[in-house]
Amino acid sequence: MVSTVWQNPVLLIVVPLGLAFFTPIIGLIRKELVKYIPILGMLFNLTLSLFLLPKVLDNPIIVSLSGWKPPFAINLFVGPVGILFSILISLVGLLTAIYGINYIKKGAVEKYHMLFLLLLTGATGIVLTGDIFNLFVFFEILCISSYALVAYNQDKNGIEAATKYLIQGSLGSAFILLGIGFLYGLFGTLNMADIARNITTVDSPALFIAMALFITGFGVEAAIFPLNAWLPDAHSSAPSTISAILSGIAIHIGIYAIFRVLYTLFGFNSIFTVLAVIGIVTLLIGEMSAFRQENIKRVLAYSSMGQMGLIIFALSIGTVDGISGGLFQIITHTLSKSLLFLCVGYMVYSTNSMELSSLNGLGKRMPLISLLFTIGVFSLIGLPPFIGFPSKLSIILAGLKTGETLFLILIVLMLLATVIEGVYFFRIIQILYFKEPDKEERFKTPFTLLFPVIILGLLIVAIGIYPGLLQEILDRSAEIFWDKLSYIKIVFGG
C-alpha cells in the first residue's frame, strides 16, 4: 500500500495546499526561499499529472476521501479531462512562477506567492472533484485569491477592478450556493453522480431554476456575455503574471464548471442552443470591443472575452467532435494568452506604459520577445503552423458536421469575428515592427523572464505542427466528459 500512496491523485490538491500553509514558517527562516515554493508545488503537480495521464485514459480513477465509499463521502473523479486541465494548470503555473521570481519585487511578496499557489490549487481542486459542494468550496478558493491578487499593485485601477470583481463574483458564488441548496432539497445528496442518477425523478421548474442559478454563478467567472463587466478591468489592472493566470486558467475553470454541471447533472439539450448563441454574441462583443482599445492589456483582456465565447460555442455544439474542439481551443488559448500576457508584462515593465503608442518599434529593441509575441498572436488568430490553426479548424468542422442552419450562420459569424481579431492584432504587429522606435538602445531580458516565454512559444509551434499528438487524448477526454451514464457507472463501480 505504501508504494502506491505517492501516486494517489489527492496529492495533487493536498501537497500544494500543505506547501502554502507551511510558507509563513519558511518565510521566517529565509525570506528568499518563499518565491521558490510555488515552483516546487507546481513541479510536483506536473510530474504527477503527467504520470497519471496514461492511466486515466483507460480507466478514470475514483478516489474516495475519509475512508467511505461514494456517495457517503466526498470523492474525486480523476478522468482525462481533469488530468488534462491539471497538466495545463501546473504547466502554466510553473512557467508563471518562474517568471514571477524576478518580476514581483514590490509589495507583500511572500503573500503574493502564497496566494498564487492557493489560486492554482483551487483550480486543480475544481477540475478533480466529484462533489458539488466541494466544487463550490474550491471555486471560492480560486475566486477569493484572485480578488486579492487583482488588487496586488494597489493602484487606483487595481483596487477598483478588484472591488468590482469581488461584488460580482461573490454574488455569483451566492447564486451557486442557492442552486446547491435547491439540488440538496430535491435529492438529499451532494455527490454529482448520485444527483445525476436521480435527476429524472423530479419535475422541471425547480431543476430549471437550479440550472439557471448554476449557469449565472459560474458564468460570472467564465465571463459569459451579460456577466462579464469585471473582466477587462480585472485582467488589465492585475500584475501581468496574474493576468496570465486569470486569462489562461481561471476563466477556463469557470467554463469547465458550467459544462461539468450541465453535462453530468442536467443533460438538458435545449439549453445548449441558447448557450451556443450566447457564445457567439460574447465572441463578437469581445472582439469588437478589443478593436477600439488603446491599452495593450485591455486589448488582450477583451480578446480573452472573445475567445471564451468561441469555447462556449464549441462546447455547446453538443457532439463529441465539438467538445474535443472546445478542449483543443482551451489549450490553445491557455498557451497563447499566457504567452502574450507574459510578453506584454515585460514590455510594460521596460517601457513603463501600457499605451499602444509606446510600443513603437519594439521589434528592434527587444527582438526575441517581439517574435514570441507575434507567435502568440498568430496562434490566436488561427494561422498555420501554430496551435490555433488545428483547434479552430476542428471547431469549424464539428459545427459543419451537425448540418444545422443555425450552426452554419453562427460559424459565419465566428469567421467574421476572426477577421476582426486579425485586423486589430495585425495593427499591433505593425506598431511593433514597422514604426520607428523612439530610442535605439536594446533591452536586456533576464533569463528567468525569457525561459517561460520561450517554452510556451516552443509548445505552441510544436503542437501546431503535430496536432495528432494531442488529438487522440482530446477525443478520449471528450467522450468521457460528455457521457453521463458512464460517469455514474464509474463512480459507483460495476
Binding site: F133, V137, E140, I144, Y147, A148, A151, Q154, K156, N157, I159, E160, A161, A162, T163, K164, L166, I167, S170, L171, S173, A174, L177, L178, I180, G181, Y184, G185, G188, L190, A229, D233
Partner: protein, 119 residues
Amino acid sequence: MDFLYHNIHFIGAFGLMFIGLYMIAVKKNLIKKIIGLGFVETGINLFLIIIGYIKNGTAPIFSKAGLDPARMVDPVPQALVLTAIVINVAILALALGLAIRLYGHYKTLNVEKIRGLKW
C-alpha cells in the same frame, strides 16, 4: 393566512435575500452594498437550514440515551452552513479592506463618483 403560516420560514430566508440583492443593485454606497452582500449570504444560510428541518425534530446530537435517529434533523445542511458562514466572513473582510483602500484613493465611497466603476 394559511399560506403565510406554512411558508413563513421561506419568506424570512428569501425576504432577507431580496433585501440584500436590492441593496446591492440600488445603493450607491459601497459599505451599504457590502452589508447587502452579508444579508444575501445569511438568507441563503437560513434557506439551507430550513431545507434540512423536520417538524418536531431534535438536533442531531446523541447527547443522552434514547434519542431516535429517525426524528433528528438533517446534519448535512448544518455542516454546509458552517462552511458558508466562514467563507462569508472571509469575503466580507476582504471587501472591507478593499473599501478602505478605495476610500484612501478617492475620499468617497459613492460608486458613481469613482471613475471606472460601472455597476
